[in-house]
């Protein structure tokens, strides 16, 4: 019996040790890799080419000094995992999140304000394109620094253009001209089914932000305003595409769209003659359809409103330091390294993006693999460059408005009724958020 007890105790001991090791391993492994260097853990969302590009930056940083070692991990579901790790008191030292998460994370108290670090290292607002700087700040505090950003423009497949539209100079600048172009450049087969749509507003980067193009916004101050006349006008315009091509036909046509990063991407397969997307899309053209002859143009603006010219949707990848980071100072040294013009331009070149920095070298613009990078850079500097609204329920806004447009396209409700439903639901969600997250 004593032997049995001893065996039992040994088993329990092994299991307890295993459990202890499991709990402690992440922390231990991440901070003791090299005894004479401080290990900074860096979680990032990227895989593939983007991951490799950042790996080059991390390698360059690690070789540039001998005090800090950045350990770079590609993580899926990074937002959720960072939030939970922060809640558990063991966050990464640096997290590569998107700029539209700044507000929600800051509201939750999950981020370290970076103002003092920035001041001490001599970088600030003047160094960044204003629209991007705005994305990194919230309630007057700085919470993030950029890696690779993006702005939206219209990619045009020249081979599918009628002669009167086959160059940037000839391409329509206003909405009425654009609508005529859509009519002219869309093609149907002999049996009436859609073969090529000149444009579909529900596909591509920024397809959830059309009210901005019409000068409207999803909010009025802190009031949810998704059913305002400006919003209604924007979504009615979006809905008009389903009506003009036919609701069933559009459904059927869109069901043939393949994955974004594949040769069956609707633009690459010739189903869409134009696609709104960010600068990185030129990499997908290079990979999956290198023979496509394309050019890029800004999105059109409503007739009679030249002040709305230069509209673009922006978003950027960022580096944030979660609250509870064990090596915030060292983490910022890495963040600061990425902000160097040469480092940033190398990263943005390899990720096919424009640079978020005010100063951009000619070498970057001329040597960039996206031949229209100057346009994306120019659009980012436009006063009409807009990002997500600064409310912690931006995710819900996207979901509710997206559902409202689904409902109107399917004919289940009028555009006004669909937006009214979204408005009511979002108003309730915003009230909940204010009470539960903001304590007001």
């Amino acid at each position: 019996m004593n032997a049995a007890v001893a065996k039992g105790l040994t088993t329990c001991g092994i299991l307890a040790a295993g459990l202890f090791a499991l709990v402690g391993s992440e922390r231990a492994a991440s901070r003791q890799a090299n005894s004479d260097r401080i290990v900074v853990t860096y979680w990032e969302k990227w895989t593939g080419d983007e991951m490799r590009a950042m790996q080059h930056v991390v390698n360059a940083f690690n070789s540039s000094q001998n005090r800090i070692e950045v350990r770079y991990l590609s993580i899926s579901g990074i937002a959720e995992k960072t939030l939970l790790a922060t809640s558990g008191g063991n966050p990464p030292d640096v997290a590569g999140l998107w700029s539209d998460q700044v507000v929600q994370f800051a509201d939750a108290g999950a981020l370290l304000p970076l103002d003092d670090f920035a001041r001490a290292s001599g970088i600030g607002e003047k160094d960044y394109i204003p629209a991007y700087w705005n994305e990194m700040t919230y309630h007057g505090k700085l919470y993030a620094f950029p890696t690779s950003p993006g702005t939206s423009a219209l990619y045009v497949n020249r081979a599918l253009m009628p002669p009167e539209y086959d160059s940037p100079a000839k391409f329509p600048k206003t909405l009425s001209g654009f609508d005529q172009f859509v009519k002219r450049a869309s093609r149907r087969s002999a049996n009436g089914t859609l073969e090529t749509a000149a444009f579909l507003p529900r596909d591509g980067f920024g397809s959830g932000s059309w009210p901005y193009m019409f000068g409207a916004s999803f909010v009025d101050g802190e009031k949810i305003d998704v059913n305002s006349p400006g919003n209604l006008k924007a979504w009615e315009w979006v809905h008009s595409f389903a009506l003009r091509f036919g609701v069933r036909e559009t459904q059927s046509f869109r069901s043939g769209f393949g994955n974004y990063s594949s040769p069956q991407n609707p633009f690459l397969s010739g189903k869409l003659a134009t696609l709104m997307d960010g600068p990185w899309f030129s990499n997908y053209i290079r990979l999956y359809s290198p023979k496509t002859d394309w050019f890029a143009v800004p999105l059109p603006y409503p007739d009679g409103h030249p002040e709305l010219k230069g509209y673009t949707v922006l978003n950027l990848n960022t580096l944030m330091i979660p609250r509870g980071s064990k090596h915030a100072k060292e983490a910022f040294e890495f963040v600061r390294f990425v902000q160097r013009q040469d480092v940033m331009e190398k990263l943005c070149t390899e990720q096919f993006c424009n640079s978020p920095l005010t100063n951009v070298s000619q070498k970057f613009l001329k040597g960039h693999p996206n031949k229209f990078i100057w346009l994306f850079d120019q659009l980012a500097r436009s006063p009409r460059a807009v990002g997500p609204v600064k409310l912690g329920i931006w995710g819900q806004i996207g979901q509710e408005v997206g559902n409202a447009v689904d409902v109107m396209d399917l004919g289940q409700a009028s555009p006004k009724a669909a937006l009214d439903i979204a408005e009511a639901r979002l108003t309730e969600q915003w009230a909940n958020y204010k009470q539960q997250v903001l304590n007001r």
């Binding site: 459904q251 069901s255 043939g256 994955n259 995710g395 689904d406």
Partner: protein, 292 residues
């Protein structure tokens, strides 16, 4: 004295399980029950609000829609998958050369990870390039937009659910092999044909296995998450594929309302428990247990 000592040793050996159960199951379970009565946004302390989350669920239209989507999916996929798995098991229970190979082939699909499966099925159901519509078109049948039409999107998932019947099939197969040969011999003497033997011998004899698989199927289908999440982001089109577990996940992690999500989880637990008890009650007269 020895009895006590045996008890202590027994507890000692069960201790790893007891510890694991307490730390990884009982504690999170009880915590979520507590959180369901609170406002809790992960990084802030939970704040007691009584039954407010449960009351809010009553008026939450998206909750109703996601629940209805899930129940509709379960009511179609569970019977279909059950019938399909039984038929497959009956086929694979015949004495044919190379049966081990066939059994392996039919089981393999259930080993494919859900996310990979989702991407694969996106191709198969693609309205224009998809294999399915290609085949349907060739025999002159309609080629519906499986992924973009709310009338078809749920059915797409129901069809896919059959793909994962491998596990159930293996359990049925084990049940079938347990049916005493003497019963078939007796049925032969009585002049029973194949269908008669299936109906009066096989089905009653494997009825406990059917019940087990149906109950597991109900539980599994109510928790369906990965496939619709990969194939229909946000439950598109028009939330026709927005399942309960997707709404729960979004509520917890996208909207950071852990308290409300916990309440949703407990409501789902109650529904699952009720449906399981109902299945047990309804089946009481039809399930045959050997030895009483």
């Amino acid at each position: 004295m020895n009895h006590r000592r045996d008890q202590r040793v027994g507890i000692l050996f069960a201790l790893p399980w007891i510890l694991g159960f307490t730390v990884f199951l009982a504690y999170p379970l009880m915590s979520s029950l507590y959180y369901s009565f609170t406002n809790f946004s992960v990084l802030r302390s939970p704040h007691w609000i009584g039954t407010a989350n449960y009351r809010e669920l009553i008026g939450d239209k998206v909750f109703h829609q996601s629940l209805m989507n899930t129940l509709l999916f379960a009511s179609a996929s569970v019977p279909l998958a059950t019938i399909f798995a039984i038929l497959l098991a009956l086929l694979l229970n015949t004495k044919t050369k190379g049966m081990a190979f066939y059994r392996t082939i039919f089981y393999i699909p259930s080993l494919v990870p859900m996310v990979a499966l989702g991407v694969l099925w996106l191709w198969i159901f693609n309205g224009h390039y998809g294999l399915l519509n290609e085949g349907l078109g060739k025999v002159g049948l309609p080629t519906p937009p499986w992924l973009t039409d709310p009338a078809w999107s749920k059915w797409t998932l129901v069809i896919i659910s059959i793909w994962g019947t491998g596990n159930a099939m293996v359990i049925y197969l084990a049940g079938l092999q347990d049916v005493p040969q003497s019963l078939y011999e007796a049925a032969d003497i009585d002049g029973a044909k194949a269908w008669g033997k299936t109906r009066h011998v096989t089905i009653p004899m494997i009825s406990p296995v059917i019940l087990f698989n149906v109950v597991m199927g109900i539980i599994g289908s109510l928790q369906t998450f990965a496939l619709p999440y990969v194939m229909f982001p946000g439950g598109q089109p028009a939330r026709s594929t927005y399942f309960f577990s997707m709404y729960l996940y979004d509520t917890a992690f996208l909207f950071q309302r852990m308290g409300y999500a916990s309440a949703m989880g407990w409501v789902m637990f109650a529904i699952t428990l009720a449906l399981t008890l109902l299945a047990l009650k309804l089946s009481a007269k039809h399930v045959h247990y050997e030895g009483g």
